[in-house]
Symmetry: D2
Subunit: 233 residues, 4 copies
């Protein structure tokens, strides 16, 4: 049985991560180590700064979303930190952080921006990365990311394609702000990450928030009970 | 219903994390943002460096441990990134990363090092934080952490208590190396973290490794089948 | 590697469950098959009837409890049936269905009813299996179970001990109804099940309810958002 | 907040399941109660017998498959019954029990058997419900189910369509046995269940097996370690 092969890491005396000795990895900033383990290479200085911004931007977004509710609810059933955080992460499905991955797929596909918008309009589907409940003119957080990407010389092909999609959609249908998912998808693609990691990256960024919520819930009463109502069909 | 109150974060236009505006958090290194969300304050420069080392040291330890096996096995059943990582995290129970938390509890209890060793010897239990399968004289990784803590002026009460426990246990029973769990437990305690976050901190550090493993498994054949054997009772 | 040994079942041509051929198991009622796989023997006719009643009594209890909320919330994040039901089951911790297991442990311990009540009173702890939010005189469901156990000739040592505990507690402190957890714990113990299966049995009984809830949630809007409130510490 | 509406069940004094009083549900066989909660009506006598056979046939299939490995591995990390069973259930993804659901979708689609086979052949995809690793001429378990369905007068439209697909595929490409997934998909469809419940039904049937495996694993050593190998990329 040699099924369990990996090129990610080893343990024990000669422990390595992506070919680098664990003791050297211990000298790296955590976000650089994340970059290394996902991309199989260390980030350049500019990439490192950009990556930190993206991760920090997703660390937590309030208490009412499904992942937070799931994590805290499971804790309230009398469960451990790991069980509760796991439930929170399992909530991060297609409708919860999934826009980043879908958007990266579109951007990295060989379809042009025009074709992408056309296809979405035909099917009557939303374009991931566009639109915001609150911001109508500009989302200051995605703008901050774009500015930083530009200043660091990292704004490239895929971010431009995202902006092009936004422009075309504005001409064809309606002006929508580029939201944080769209900015992240563009920049992560420009950093060389594949779409398959879009959700994984969001999971990494959000886990500290979930840990904090589960810790906070430990001080609340056990067995949260929501108001429910039975309705005869 | 005002049940879902939190002091961790909010979303929307005035989004904050622990009282800081999200746009300011986006300027923070990810590990500093983690420190902020868990400890409710930004780290000092020295604390930041130490915290990075601790997080990076736990990022991944090979493919054969329960969390990695669980995450990859669940992926192989035809599951998404979030479902698979969640299974990996759920595996991080009392026997898997749990020594940090148990050790922090002991160190932050009001029992002296002598009493702790005595109690463990009486019950015939292991002391968390001591002993290593491979290293018999010194664990170079925990030593590296201790050196860094000392150099940064962060080695204090709890790390000293841990070393005292090691010393007493050596006199009473047998010399064991201080392992990484013990070093982390001491330093995290000196950084002011409570034991309830010991496992949460390990979860945060290990999640990137789990994401990498699930991504790697996506390129493997579906439906991993282990060799099993039925034995009549 | 012969690690993965089991005496539960095998697959393939000679598939068995607890020594019985799978094709014979297919002729069994599902609850009898559950009894077989957990207890390593088929139930007697009376045990079978009792076991059905216990399982059916736990199948679902409304929408507001943690397991249901967790399962439905995870589904609303854009997740599959298996991921969502798993989150619901993970919510079934010490405070959610845990009373059965704790009660079975007490009943099957070598402490007398008197000692158990005494110990609980000293520590100021509740006695699992006693008390109900709504019913003050008698819980009609636990009474139904007790009557059935009696009629089937299955009410024995452990159920009697449970009733004794109720009586002593009434004399020492306050009259409380025997609730369903207490009735199940007593009867399951009399059926010869060990406490380690108390929670597992509840999981089995509740899974169909969780499946129904996840299915129902699929017709609801995606991404359930609870009302949350940020409060400055 | 009246978000949490359900037509499945209520709790408390007037507890019901699908409109039936909980105390009446307690008199039902567990499998009948499952039928009720999923299909919103009690089964006829023949449906009840058939449903029992289907559920019992899936109760457990050895130790080496992903759900069992995931559940036991998570337990070995030092976790509770509920956390471990949840991990096992989360493993039941598209490649693990997913054929039933996919097959029910095909059967209940408005495509004819000819069109279905044609479409699958064009795309070079497998037909769910056909083929078996071990059985080449006949799968005795699916045959048993079909015979029972016929004898009970329950073999109808969808099972016939499944057999038709098998026949056409044999003529067009190669003879494959109808496997258990195919038999279950046909019969469940004939019983009036929708495809969305295909996986849920399998989860219900397999949960007792997972509970038994987690219980068995509790007696094994903690922290299962698989043999892994690091390979430089």
């Amino acid at each position: 049985m040699t099924d369990w092969e990996t090129s990610i890491s080893s343990s024990g005396k000669d422990a390595v991560v992506r070919g680098e000795e664990l003791e050297d990895v211990m000298e790296m900033d955590f976000s650089d180590a994340i970059f290394l383990i996902l991309k199989e290479e260390r980030p350049e200085k500019e990439e490192s700064e950009m990556f930190n911004t993206i991760l920090s931007s997703c660390i937590d977004h309030g208490v009412g979303n499904p992942s937070t509710v799931a994590a805290r609810t499971v804790q309230s059933g009398g469960n451990s930190m790991n069980t509760s955080v796991a439930a929170g992460i399992s909530a991060l499905g297609d409708k919860h952080g999934g826009a980043i991955e879908e958007c990266m797929e579109l951007l990295q596909s060989n379809k042009s921006g025009e074709k992408i918008v056309e296809g979405k309009l035909e099917k009557g589907e939303k374009i991931p990365g566009l639109g915001h409940k609150v911001y109508k003119d500009e989302d200051p957080r995605s703008q901050k990311m774009l500015d930083k990407a530009e200043n660091l010389g990292l704004k490239s092909e895929f971010t431009e394609k995202m902006l092009k999609i936004q422009e075309i959609f504005g001409e064809e249908k309606v002006d929508l702000v580029l939201n944080v998912d769209g900015a992240i998808a563009g920049i992560m693609s420009d950093l060389g990450f594949e779409p398959e990691l879009g959700k994984g990256f969001f999971i990494i960024a959000r886990t500290p928030g979930l840990v904090a919520h589960v810790r906070e819930e430990m001080d609340e009463e056990d067995f949260r009970r929501e108001k429910g109502k039975y309705v005869e069909e």
